[in-house]
């Protein structure tokens, strides 16, 4: 199967109601693909932020694409709490499953391994645990008298992320952004946007192949130059602080967000949208 497709085809592979895993801001957020998702009016997504999110989750919430979000935080970097996420919390319009970073990582790791659950230190006595009936406390079976939290595995339906490059066989280079490996292995299918597609086989170079997600986890790849904008991609480009600041300011009101969204959806490339 040819995994290379265009952005709209990639976005169409995420059905309404999908459990969608997305990475945190510095490590390859697929913003161009997110725009296609909003364009096709996706609904009722169950977002799993690994382990936090920023403008991506905020835009999806503001555009009414989200039913629930599991996350350890949603913030627009130095601009603080993500505004549409905060509004949704106040209004109760989106189900928020508050977590802590290592708990989301651990649940994905259980998913990767095909395990039903995984233990994690910490969490005892927190309101995070108190609000999560799906998380349990057991007694350490090896050293009784040691309470340990156990968390159910997550197997997201789809992982969506952005990476520097892919080859035509569907292998994706991610470098040291290793959380993407966990996301890809835990999810049933990965949809990946890349800066470019190369003609050689990324797995053939032993000095670099450890930084590659093999094609077996990857369902579709679309080329999206500057596809993380206004967020950055390590080694390629940094975040666009001015654009993020404009978003954080505009999205403080529903009307301001609506105007920002209309301009963003009208754009065709990253440069076309201020």
């Amino acid at each position: 199967m040819n995994t290379i497709c265009d952005l709209a085809t990639l976005a169409a592979a995420i059905p309404d109601g999908a459990k969608l895993a997305i990475p945190n801001d510095p490590y390859g957020v697929a913003m161009a693909a997110t725009r296609e998702l909003v364009r096709r009016r996706v609904r009722d997504l169950q977002i799993v932020c690994v382990p936090t999110s920023g403008i991506q989750a905020d835009v999806l919430i503001g555009a009414d694409c989200v039913a629930s979000i599991e996350t350890s935080a949603v913030s627009v970097g130095e601009y603080g709490t993500a505004p549409r996420f905060a509004a949704a919390a106040r209004e109760g319009s989106v189900k928020i499953l508050d977590a802590t970073c290592p708990a989301i990582h651990a649940r994905l790791q259980a998913g990767m391994k095909g395990l039903p659950f995984i233990p994690l230190r910490g969490l005892l006595g927190t309101d995070i645990l108190a609000q999560r009936p799906d998380w349990k406390v057991i007694d350490n079976p090896f050293v009784p008298g040691d309470p340990v939290v156990v968390l159910p595995a997550i197997r997201p339906d789809v992982a969506l992320f952005h990476a520097p490059r892919a080859d035509r066989l569907g292998n994706v280079f991610i470098g040291r952004a290793r959380d993407l490996v966990n996301i890809a292995q835990a999810s049933h299918a990965s949809l990946v946007t890349v800066e470019e597609v190369v003609d050689d086989n990324l797995l053939e170079d032993p000095e670099r192949s450890a930084g590659v997600i093999p094609a077996l986890y990857v369902a579709r790849i679309a080329v999206a130059p500057c596809g993380a904008w206004p967020l950055g991609l390590p080694g390629r480009y940094g975040p666009d602080g001015a654009a993020l600041g404009r978003y954080a300011q505009a999205a403080r009101t529903r009307e301001g967000f609506g105007a920002w969204l209309a301009a963003w959806l009208a754009g065709t490339s990253s440069a076309a949208v201020a």
Binding site: A89, E91, C101, H105, G122, Q131
Partner: protein, 240 residues
């Protein structure tokens, strides 16, 4: 030029890191980040500094998860946490004020606090804004508790609290803060009036010492340049 408020905070936190081998700085933490770099210089490089969000100071290759694994193995000696609310028993709230889940004001979220607060031996609470809305009698949501009952695995926890007004120590067995020093230009009365919980204090609380000339020179030179990689706006605001 005498030390600025920011420089006093950086120097104060740097002193708290003395003797540590490894410190991790979370996101959006320019003052703790600068302090860690000062402490590294004063330790002749014995202190390993990891700054999340910095390419130069990212000394891990297994993703964000590696930092948490390191902490659980005891490979992180110090970490910083803040909070929209912090109470007198060192419970911290990073989720929101009001009744959860439909809080009045929503903050980003708990990040790694519900885990690292249990595992890192010296957690330094840092919140520059010292007001009654931050330092409350009881937090509205416990992102991470200050103490745990006997039997809970907890090698770590709150150790010190640094605010824009003073430095406190936390006594885990008594579940109580004690004021250790007041920053120059401020008073004990001012701290009492701006703190929503009771804390211990002596009749002669010392003033937080000004940074030594060597430390001040570091902050205004090498550290200013180094922290600019991660926090350019913050570095530009530091004195030269």
């Amino acid at each position: 030029m005498s030390a600025t408020k920011t420089e006093i905070l950086i120097a104060t936190i740097a002193r708290l890191l003395e003797g540590c081998r490894s410190v991790v700085i979370g996101n959006q933490s320019p003052i703790p980040g600068s302090a860690a770099l000062v402490a590294r210089e004063l330790s002749d490089g014995a202190l390993r500094v990891t700054i999340l969000g910095s390419r130069r100071h990212t000394d891990f290759t297994n993703g964000g998860v590696e930092t948490f694994d390191r902490a659980a193995q005891g490979r992180v000696d110090a970490f910083f946490l803040g909070g929209g609310q912090i109470d007198g028993e060192a419970n911290i709230n990073l989720v929101g004020s009001g009744e959860y889940p439909r809080v009045d004001v929503r903050w980003p979220g708990s990040f790694g606090s519900a885990y690292l607060y249990f595992l890192v031996p010296r957690v330094i609470l840092f919140r520059e804004e010292h007001t009654p809305r931050v330092f409350v009698k009881k937090v509205d949501f416990v992102s991470a508790p200050g103490t745990s009952p006997p039997g809970v695995y907890r090698p770590g926890g709150p150790w010190k609290l640094v605010t824009g007004l003073g430095l406190f120590a936390f006594d885990r067995s008594r579940k109580r803060f004690a004021l250790e020093s007041v920053h120059p230009g401020h008073t004990v009365d001012e701290i009492v009036a701006n703190t929503g919980f009771e804390f211990d204090r002596s009749t002669s609380t010392p003033t937080t010492p000004e940074p030594e000339p060597r430390v001040l020179a570091l902050i205004r030179g090498r550290i200013r340049d180094e922290i600019a990689e991660t926090y350019p706006k913050f570095a530009a605001g530091l004195a030269e």
